[in-house]
């Protein structure tokens, strides 16, 4: 059971496309589209969003993402009208990147708050860390570099580990659990990254990332 996602869009086609894209990164996560009006026109339909939230809820809560302002208002209103408004939250996030990041976080077992926070570009709260930092250097030998799918794999590989992991490329760093942060590094094939980890399971975190890089992220 994971947190569910609902994609609220003015357009049925847009909602379905975002669901398709985010679903690719997060098998098993319920991602439900709620786009367009019942007659097929553009707009957001309160009843459709309400139904989508009910479908997406497996008991772990639901995060709603929206495309434009009035979709946010509809989403807010749906959450406020729920029997238990604490069972869902509207994430103020970019729709496409936010949905991908949220889906990956949900697939990793993150809580509803952490999934919403991942959508907005913040890595889920790191666990308590201690101990000296360890670091490795990896070279990206896969064709697409640190693109969406490899970034998602990297972030997901750390699920459940007690370790604070940072990926540095040039003068930019990102929390390794933030898909958006990793994408923002813009690392391509042939680039070398420094990965540093701190905490109880730092060594295991670095081992998993090394493994992913050695396997060309499954390409």
């Amino acid at each position: 059971m994971t947190v569910g996602l609902v994609i609220v869009s003015h357009s049925a086609a847009l909602a379905a496309g975002v669901v398709e894209l985010a679903g690719q990164m997060a098998p098993g996560v319920p991602i439900i589209p709620a786009g367009g009006m019942p007659d097929g026109g553009l707009g957001t339909d309160f009843a459709a969003v309400t139904d989508a939230v009910a479908t997406a809820d497996q008991g772990e809560g639901v995060v709603l993402l929206f495309d434009l302002g009035s979709a946010q208002m509809t989403a807010d209103l749906v959450v406020e009208s729920m029997a238990d408004p604490d069972q869902a939250v509207v994430a103020d996030a970019p729709l496409v990147e936010g949905a991908v990041a949220a889906a990956v976080a949900a697939a990793g077992g993150a809580s509803m708050a952490a999934v919403a926070s991942a959508a907005s570009g913040h890595a889920p709260d790191a666990s308590v860390v201690s101990g000296p930092a360890e670091r490795i250097e990896i070279e990206l030998t896969n064709e697409i570099g640190l693109h969406a799918r490899p970034a998602a794999q990297l972030a997901r590989s750390l699920t459940g580990l007690t370790a604070d992991v940072t990926v540095t490329f040039g003068d930019q760093s990102s929390d390794a659990r933030s898909v958006l942060g990793l994408l923002g590094l813009g690392a391509r094939k042939g680039d070398r990254l420094v990965v540093s980890a701190q905490g109880e399971q730092a060594a295991e975190a670095l081992r998993r990332i090394r493994q992913l890089a050695d396997d060309n992220f499954g390409e």
């Binding site: 309160f46 208002m73 807010d76």
Partner: protein, 215 residues
């Protein structure tokens, strides 16, 4: 000198007639600086409300306003649905189970409606939205109440102020809603949301005046 449920329902129906009569104007205003759906969305919402009134008969003013709220929320689709829907929900909550509207509760309901619109849309005066019409309307209604106006007087003051407030949106550059994407190009146009707010208040005021002269 109150207004019972039949009077409130008559005012809401008058508002529906106004929306239908001004559909094309609202469509045109919204086409220029928005997505062009404001007139059609509101017409769909209010027409569905009129149909809903044939199926259920609200027994309190608050219940009538609440029926309008839920109908707008579930049928309008654009920003006007959640905004007017929330406004009417808050107004209905303020009216509660009272059997009749008074000048005092009319002003309180208008104030609650404004609070709902601001909470939902996060807009302020000057953002070129319905808040620019509704804010001065509430102030004027409260002032009229202070001078001893009846319901029709309170609503007439609100409608006058809303019309001026709507006109004040013409030179503004939009900071909220779809029009905000246009930046400077949104200036020199009347905001469709502010316009529909002033139309609705005028319909309420005219209906109340008719109700008064009939009484």
């Amino acid at each position: 000198m109150g207004c019972r449920t039949d009077g409130v329902v008559a005012a809401l129906k008058a508002a529906a007639d106004t929306v239908v009569a001004h559909r094309d104007e609202l469509v045109e205003l919204d086409r220029v600086i928005g997505d062009g759906d404001h007139g059609e969305n509101l017409q769909r919402g209010f027409q569905t409300f009129v149909v809903a009134l044939t199926r259920s008969t609200p027994d309190k003013p608050g219940a009538a306003v609440k029926l309008l709220a839920t109908t707008l929320i579930s049928t309008v689709g654009g920003a006007a649905g959640p905004l007017y829907g929330t406004a009417c929900l808050r107004a209905a909550t303020t009216l509660g189970d009272a059997d009749e509207l008074t000048p005092e509760t009319t002003v309180a309901a208008l104030r609650a409606a404004l609070g709902g619109v601001v909470a939902r849309g996060k807009a302020e005066v000057g953002d070129k939205t319905m808040v620019d019409a509704l804010t001065p309307a509430v102030d004027a209604a409260a002032e009229a109440l202070g001078s001893g106006a009846d319901i029709a007087g309170v609503l007439a003051a609100a409608a006058d102020a809303a019309e001026k407030g709507a006109e004040s949106t013409v030179p503004l550059v939009a900071r909220k809603g779809r029009a905000s994407y246009l930046g400077e190009r949104s200036a020199n146009h009347l905001d469709p949301g502010a316009r529909s707010t002033s139309l609705l208040l005028r319909a309420f005021a005219d209906s109340a005046a008719k109700h008064r002269s009939a009484a």
